[in-house]
């Protein structure tokens, strides 16, 4: 049945992986695209990037972190439960071709949407270096999957509990200093990480794609809530993105906009925990 959860796995304290029956989305979906879902009939609509899809089984995979009310409710759903509404695939797919040497940088939950892009880049014949980072070892995702496709995999943690004790920008800078420099960097993660990845590559003039995850309602261009400033122009993440030239994105404005409903979300999550929903 459509929208049914068919597999569920807890990857770390706050990170979950679910497979959902969604044959139409699985058929059309390309790396870089996302879906919008509602856990129940009148609940809020949130965007989540598609981490993987299996056309033969008609399923898509979502990996998410419990950050607010909806993701918390989603984490409490089980195999056999139905997601009330699921729409997609949305956004423009990643432009994948043979660029040469591509570095994919993923931070925290951003490693999940990075994976299909890294896979696509590898399949297109690129030399693939993957840098992944998180606060600690528990939050490092998809290490084995990425190790299988990457020519080189670099792992960083903030606390040094696994891999290098460093931010992802440190190995990124070192790789940019090598001649010939990389041909493309794709960075996905928290807004502040993407901002500093873009700042790291800017002096080296290495083209840098970032994938933005902003507040959205419809995901089809109708509301404009997801808008960001890119090179002085207003762009809609849902229909113009989600990927943009990281050197042109106004991250400071985007980070502020992401916090528009922080207090509201805090209260909602608090209520949600009180009622033990």
């Amino acid at each position: 049945m459509r929208n049914l959860i068919i597999e569920k796995q807890q990857l770390s304290e706050q990170v979950y992986k679910i497979k959902i029956n969604a044959p139409l989305i699985a058929e059309e979906r390309l790396p870089g695209q996302f879906i919008i879902l509602q856990v129940s009939e009148d609940s809020e609509r949130i965007p989540l990037t598609i981490a993987d899809a299996d056309q033969s089984k008609g399923s898509i995979t979502l990996i998410f972190q419990t950050v607010g009310k909806t993701t918390t409710l989603l984490s409490k759903m089980n195999v056999g439960d139905k997601i009330a509404h699921l729409a997609g695939p949305l956004g423009k797919p990643t432009h994948i071709e043979k660029f040469g040497h591509v570095i994919c940088v993923g931070g925290g939950i951003g490693i999940a949407p990075l994976y299909p892009i890294a896979q696509g880049m590898k399949n297109a014949g690129n030399k693939l270096t993957v840098i992944i980072g998180a606060r600690n070892k528990d939050l490092i995702l998809l290490e084995n999957e990425l190790r299988q496709i990457a020519d080189e995999l670099i792992i960083c943690t903030d606390d040094g509990s696994y891999g290098k004790k460093a931010l992802v920008t440190e190995p990124l800078k070192q790789l940019c200093e090598i001649n010939p420099k990389p041909d493309l960097v794709v960075a996905i993660g928290p807004a502040v990480m993407m901002k500093f990845c873009a700042e790291t590559t800017r002096p080296f003039k290495v083209p840098t794609l970032v994938s933005l995850n902003t507040i959205m309602i419809d995901g089809t261009g109708m509301c404009g809530g997801c808008r960001v400033t890119v090179g002085k122009e207003t762009k809609f993440v849902c229909v113009d993105g989600p990927e943009f030239d990281g050197h042109l994105v106004d991250f400071d404005n985007m980070i502020k906009r992401l916090n528009s409903y922080k207090q509201f979300e805090k209260n909602a999550l608090h209520q949600c925990k009180l009622k033990n929903l």
Binding site: E28, D42, A87, G88, T229, V239, R257
Partner: protein
């Protein structure tokens, strides 16, 4: 009772009973209650039943207005509604949201005799009266035998609904694809509850389903399925695109991406579709501002301003760069907005939005205009008065200056011809550049009204039916 025209003209215009302003700004319920039977009979008696019936010409779908009004005077409401339904499928909606003063009521003979358009017969109110009187079981649409032809309709707004009903009646199998989780298009996400109760929209959608129209929600044509795959893979025989305008315009001014600046689409969608006004539910949030500025002078601007008031704003400023005469909004909406205490700032415009350290709106910079020579639209062009800048303390800005064309279908359908604004190019029968594909409503004409979208739907349905048979 046989009245002379003079006696008819002497009957006073029946005012619409409404919730008092101080009460209605505290709730989301419908502002206008609708005529009582007594009022409707009196108002119907005002119609001169003139031979020329210019009102019919004034209606975009040419409802036989004198006939449905005459049926009211006979107390035959079932007959009255069936006359309307021959031309318009959504009388309960149109009776509420059509700009009647510019359409059917504008050329009304009575208005001319009384030398005041505002004294024309209240056709819209009478339409609403008979539509609301209709019993749910009175659906007597004749449906032709099944033809075996499949039609895909994209968008469940007024244009799509009209095409769906017309083609279903002809015996074709109709599926509507809707991107949102609820059908109804602008009637569901855009027009607020206090102007168009959602139960009326639901009733219309249910009557479509009852005649066999299928509605697939959460289905985004161009993404979930490419347009042409509907024909190539899914075996549809014809497609109608009625996706609406759906890409809000912004001003491109400094500070427009601050926290607290919204398109009217976003603001209204949060409140109407996602029910953000039910704050105890704590699902989709709405940003709360004590002092709200709305930019624009159309129905959407009025809807946004009046919605802001209802969710608790203390001051709502409506800023429009021309005068009230040029406002595209329905007169009734302007009157209601003023009664409710919306502060009108005419011949003014926002120039800059100023934020605090957290990035939240704290002030707007405005400028004043004066009217100059007529522009391309025939309206006097507003001319900036130099050095007229002034600031207003504001926490929320809502931009309601219209919509561009949504890019989803054209991004993935390169063979579909669109104009420089991205609107789909069609011929007089709503045919697009792709054989088997028609389009109508706001995605063709730019942002317009419910009734104009329905009018185009009518034309498209006729043309599709001819193509299929």
């Amino acid at each position: 009772m046989n009245l002379t025209p003079k006696e008819r003209a002497a009957i006073p215009l029946q005012e619409m009973p409404c919730q008092p302003p101080e009460m209605r700004i505290k709730n989301m319920e419908e502002v206008a209650f609708g005529y009582s039977e007594k009022q409707a009979l009196k108002e119907a008696d005002r119609c001169l039943q003139c031979k020329t019936a210019p009102c019919i010409e004034g209606c975009p779908v040419n409802i036989n207005i004198p006939a449905f009004i005459h049926a009211i005077t006979e107390h035959n409401y079932a007959k009255s509604i069936s006359i309307i339904k021959q031309s318009s499928l959504l009388p309960a909606v149109c009776g509420r949201v059509c700009p009647q003063e510019e359409q059917c009521q504008a050329p009304c003979t009575l208005g001319k005799i009384l030398k005041d358009k505002a004294n024309a017969v209240s056709i819209g109110r009478l339409e609403r009266f008979v539509a609301d009187k209709e019993l749910p079981s009175s659906n007597t649409l004749n449906i032709q035998p099944q033809t075996g032809k499949k039609i895909a309709i994209i968008g469940s707004g007024p244009a799509g609904i009209t095409v769906a009903a017309d083609l279903c009646r002809e015996g074709h199998a109709v599926t509507i694809f809707e991107a949102f989780h609820k059908p109804g298009g602008v009637m569901t996400y855009g027009i607020p509850e206090f102007r168009l109760p959602k139960k009326i929209v639901e009733k219309e959608i249910n009557s479509l389903k009852s005649i066999g129209v299928k509605i697939a929600t959460d289905f985004i044509i161009g993404r979930t399925r490419k347009l042409m795959d509907l024909i190539k893979k899914d075996g549809f025989d014809a497609i109608f695109i009625g996706t609406g305008a759906g890409l809000p315009k912004f001003l491109n001014i400094e500070g427009e991406n601050c926290i607290g600046v919204f398109s009217a689409n976003e603001y209204l969608t949060r409140v109407n579709l996602m029910k953000a006004y039910q704050t105890d539910q704590q699902e989709t949030p709405i940003y709360f501002g004590r002092k709200v500025a709305v930019l624009g002078g159309g129905n959407v601007a009025m809807d946004a301003a009046r919605t802001a008031l209802r969710i608790g704003a203390e001051e709502v400023h409506l800023i429009y760069r021309r005068t009230e005469k040029e406002m595209p909004a329905r007169i009734e909406e302007v009157v209601h907005a003023k009664e409710e205490g919306i502060q009108f700032h005419l011949l003014q415009n926002i120039q800059k939005i100023i934020s605090d350290e957290a990035g939240c709106v704290k002030e707007i910079e405005c400028v004043r205009y004066e009217l100059g020579k007529p522009d391309a639209s025939g309206r006097p062009r507003p001319v900036l008065i130099k050095g007229s800048e002034f600031n207003l303390e504001i926490n929320t800005v809502i931009i309601a200056i219209g919509n561009g064309s949504n890019p989803l279908i054209k991004q993935t359908t390169p063979e579909l011809n669109v104009n420089a604004n991205g609107n789909i190019i069609t011929d007089e029968n709503c045919k697009t550049s792709i054989p088997g594909v028609w389009a109508g409503g706001d995605i063709v004409s730019g942002a317009a009204t419910v009734i104009l979208a329905m009018g185009q739907g009518r034309i498209a349905a006729k043309s599709i039916n001819e193509y299929l048979t």
